[in-house]
């Protein structure tokens, strides 16, 4: 199921022409973020860091003075957004991190005009398998990808949402504070 050219768990941000990126934290902080996939399907080739490509030419989605993001990718963002203070994990919507990693609408949705919900199997075409994902968070206690209740069997989108705020399924009953990207 692996697709050649993509490194599932450590995305290789191929289109990486590094420049900048405080952008998306800014989007969130300023509360301006809206899901961009629908806008982007008008222009599915828009690059991840090109805010205006989805949000419109007038949109001021980043804090004033933020470095230019056009043409950038996730690796570039990570150069500044490191550590607990400024990490984008859980702040940057998954649609944006996917875009910034070169994963565009059409790579997940067959029909981008009327996009269908994804099945977990499709996520694994990049993220390999439940077992691999569980390995990645093995250091976490409890490991959300291998809980005593559901093991590695939960669907990704019970927690991870690409077009809206992600949530913590465990917290239906528990009160864990770990970040859900």
């Amino acid at each position: 199921m692996d697709e050649p050219g993509r490194n599932p768990l450590n995305f290789q941000y191929k289109h990486a022409a590094l420049r900048l990126t405080f952008v998306f934290a800014g989007l969130i902080l300023s509360g301006v973020f809206v899901g961009c996939c629908f806008a982007a399907d008008k222009n599915p080739s828009v690059q991840g860091g090109n805010c205006q490509g989805c949000h419109g030419a007038q949109a001021q989605v980043l804090p004033a003075g933020h470095v230019e993001t056009k043409g950038q990718n996730m690796d570039f963002c990570g150069q500044c957004h490191q550590g607990p203070e400024s990490s984008l994990k859980g702040k940057l919507p998954l649609s944006h991190s996917h875009f910034l990693s070169g994963i565009h609408c059409a790579e997940c949705h067959e029909k981008i005009a009327s996009p269908e919900p994804l099945r977990t199997k499709q996520c694994f075409s990049c993220h390999i398998s439940a077992a691999e994902v569980a390995k990645r968070t093995a250091g976490q206690n409890p490991n959300p990808h291998n809980s005593i209740h559901y093991g590695p069997d939960l669907d990704c989108d019970l927690c991870h949402h690409v077009h809206r705020q992600s949530e913590n399924f465990c917290n239906q009953c528990h009160e864990y504070t770990f970040t859900v990207p």
């Binding site: 209740h149 559901y150 939960l154 917290n171 009953c173 009160e175």
Partner: protein, 517 residues
Amino acid sequence: MTQDKENQSGKKGLSRRDFMKTTGGMAAVAGLSGGGLLLGAKSAGAVEMPKKWDEEFDVVIIGSGFAGLAAAIEAKKAGSSVVILEKMRVPGGNSIINGGLIAGAGTPLQDKEGIKDSADTMYQDMLKAGLGINHPELARIVCEKSAETIMWTVEDLGVVYKERVTHLGGHAVPRSYYTTNSSGAGIVRPMLDRARSLGLDVRTAMYLERFFKDEDGRIKGVKIRSGYVFPRADSGKAKLIKARKAVVLATGGFGFDVPFRTIQDPRLTAEIDCTNQPGATADGLIQALQTGATPVQLSWIQLGPWASPDEKGMGIGYIFAISAAFPYGFMVDPKTGQRFVDELADRKTRADAILKTGHFAIGIADEKGVKRTAMLDKMVERGIVKKFPNLEALAAEYDINEPGLRETVEKYNAYLKKGKDDEFGRPFQSDAKPVENPPYYAMRLWPKVHHTMGGIQIDKESRVISMARQPIKGLYAAGEVCGGVHGAVRLGSNATVECLVFGRIAGKSAANQDVWT
């Protein structure tokens, strides 16, 4: 009702279809219950049969907790084709989040520890807690099959339990097996594996919308909403599934269903939290009632008196209550600073007493009292349990009447010394010490809805009984959706065993049913 007479099938009998179409939820239940009594069994709740079904199976199982999975495994092993339909996105219902305790009388672990026990002793315990309103023949089956059912989980499913049996409140002797991971998942996951090895997967996001009951009174299939998104009743696509032999209803309790539970017990409003999974709602039960099943003791709803209002759901605070405050300390009403109930009475007595005060109770223990309390640090860290250098500080934090509290401490220590609780008759633990050693620990207590003892009526073969006192052909039920086994109060660890015992019976009975043509 005129519309009914003109229903397309043109048959006499009574079609409820239009009635159901225009009436929702509770109103429909009320109307149909009355109608069922007047009209007799055969046609009550009958609807027009679909001309074409989308899929068909011998046995259609609704719900994927202990009861549904046990039924599925048995029906499949008996050679039937089986499908398991679950409305939530995850399998397991309350079973997969449960505490992992299961009661059995006369088990190998008891033998090993020299504990004398019998099905009859267990039965007496159930009746005593249940205030004698248990359906005797159902309770007895659970007790008689309890030990063999635990052995089935070990030998057939590969469930692993801790080395010792646990002694829970209301049981005459220690008889509860405890999964090694302290969760019902320790049983459900092996059940899911077993089902998978038989070629059965749980189909999730499949919501039972209603039964198809034919004019001859037999349940012949179900209407499902496939791709259902809880709790949106209109989500998903309609799908008609034919049940050649039978449908097994295993949709669990309705603890999380605020509107339905407040009808049964108006005190249980949204103000009162719940330990259950969000999908523990009454919709499966309501469908059974709509189709003519007899309701049993629906208003007996169990609250956990050990619950903390300072965390969600079951949480961890209950551990301080059951291992420190209740056995080695006490519980007071902050308004008076006085105790108000035997802290070791059954769950119902204690929960009712707290509710009656109208506000949180405070559970208190001292340094000696928390000796056996696991996870105390975690509870303190999360503010569920608080730690105080002296009683003044404790009283100030919870706004407790301080002179009242001092008097309570004196009285309690005096009762303990003479070995007799003059006020509430609470038994003292042999190793209990006077409450006088700081630091003191305390938590707020406010009951949470935990279990629904009531449900629909079944017989010893798990057949659903109609209000005309006849089995509804083609419909079986098992688990918390049924009523009668526990009467007024369920004892800890008795639900798991009940659900497995009757789930297995339902699966075998359903597989034995003749195929309709």
